[in-house]
């Protein structure tokens, strides 16, 4: 699904990534690790197409709208409610049974009671859960997750474990994390940066 060869990314004069190579197929999970500032987020943004490599080859054989991206920021509108946010994305992704799926996800991630609350007054963990709902909403074929366990409580982390395991065979995963042990059971490849 993804094939990277000699990937390089610069910002101005600084070279952030250099000679990154990996292959990822459906059912694969690539764990990306590395110290702060080593380029994990940058690599993930290249994978989803939000940034372009300065050199090297990167072939991503998934349609843009079949990708789910969980970034550091939740990529949501703070002034809209959880429901309105998911409804917007549900419409854009043209999800069949949009309302039902949104309801199901909100319930599963424990946000159902807060569905009419603006994201601005969500706690950080609740925002992360909402961002996960957004990411999983359209059952993407490629899931790119940047520190997905960050600021989740134990229950939330277990929930996410389950979601990942459930999608194991149907999708490919790229996960950047500082706690690789968490996803190691599922991992098929590991990439250490920096």
């Amino acid at each position: 699904m993804i094939r990277a060869r000699g990937l390089e990314k610069r910002y101005g004069d600084r070279r952030i990534l250099r000679g990154v190579e990996f292959d990822l197929t459906r059912g694969g999970l690539l764990v990306v690790t590395g110290p702060n500032g080593s380029g994990k987020t940058t690599l993930l943004r290249l994978c989803v197409g939000l940034a372009t490599p300065t050199a090297g080859e990167l072939a991503v054989e998934v349609e843009r709208t079949r990708v789910g991206f969980l970034a550091h920021e939740p990529l949501l509108y703070r002034q809209l409610t959880a429901l309105e946010n998911l409804d917007l994305y549900g419409r854009l992704y043209r999800i069949p049974e949009r309302r039902e799926r949104i309801g199901m996800l909100l319930e599963r991630f424990g946000l159902w009671d807060e569905r009419h609350t603006r994201a601005a007054s969500y706690s950080r963990g609740m925002l992360q859960r909402l961002a996960l709902c957004r990411t999983l909403l359209h059952e993407p074929d490629l899931l790119v997750l940047d520190e997905p366990f960050s600021s989740l409580d134990d229950e939330g982390a277990a929930l996410l474990d389950r979601e990942l395991a459930e999608r194991r065979d149907r999708a490919a995963f790229v996960v950047a994390t500082h706690d690789p042990d968490r996803v190691l059971p599922l991992a098929t490849a590991k990439l250490a940066l920096g």
Partner: protein, 212 residues
Amino acid sequence: MTYLADVGALARKDLTLELRARDTLPAMLLFVLSILVVFHFVLPPESSDLAAKGLLWVGILFTALLGLTRAFAAEREDDAIDGLILATRDRSAIWLGKALAVFVFLALAELVALPAFALFFTDIGGGTIAGVVLADVGLCAVGTLLAAMATASRARELLLPLIFLPLAIPIVVGGVGASVGSHPATYAGFLALYDAIFALLAWASFDYVLTE
């Protein structure tokens, strides 16, 4: 059709946001009304309609600019724009949705301003109204693209007037011509041409503005 559905969802989102936060429309209204006040105190009652009509156009232009500077504020916060980029099949839908929303705000501000203007100064004819509508289209089409550009830059709001005003000047020329000239139809035609050219150009090139 699905394209229009995207556009609709995006424009709707902007209207909801404005209903919630009320960041943009009040400032636009305030500005337009203060202009009328300024001119009420400045223009001697017997002064020409021409000057008053001219001022109307200044008001429209700057009100649009005020709305445009805030157009992508919600998207910039928390990089929400990245989410939209990933979710839309065709990125120009983002442009069209936003331009529509800005158009609605501008139209609402004018819906207050034009009658107030007619009340305080001089009558507004059909030529002026046609001119205003056509000019609004052009202002929103070009302005939204440029606002997206300014958002991507470091100077942000400072940059928008600089890149926007030179492009908007033909609109002002056309608009003023349509509302005070002796051949309003010619000027309206000119405005329609402007709208067509620049809307097409903006629509075709918006994709490049968003890609890194």
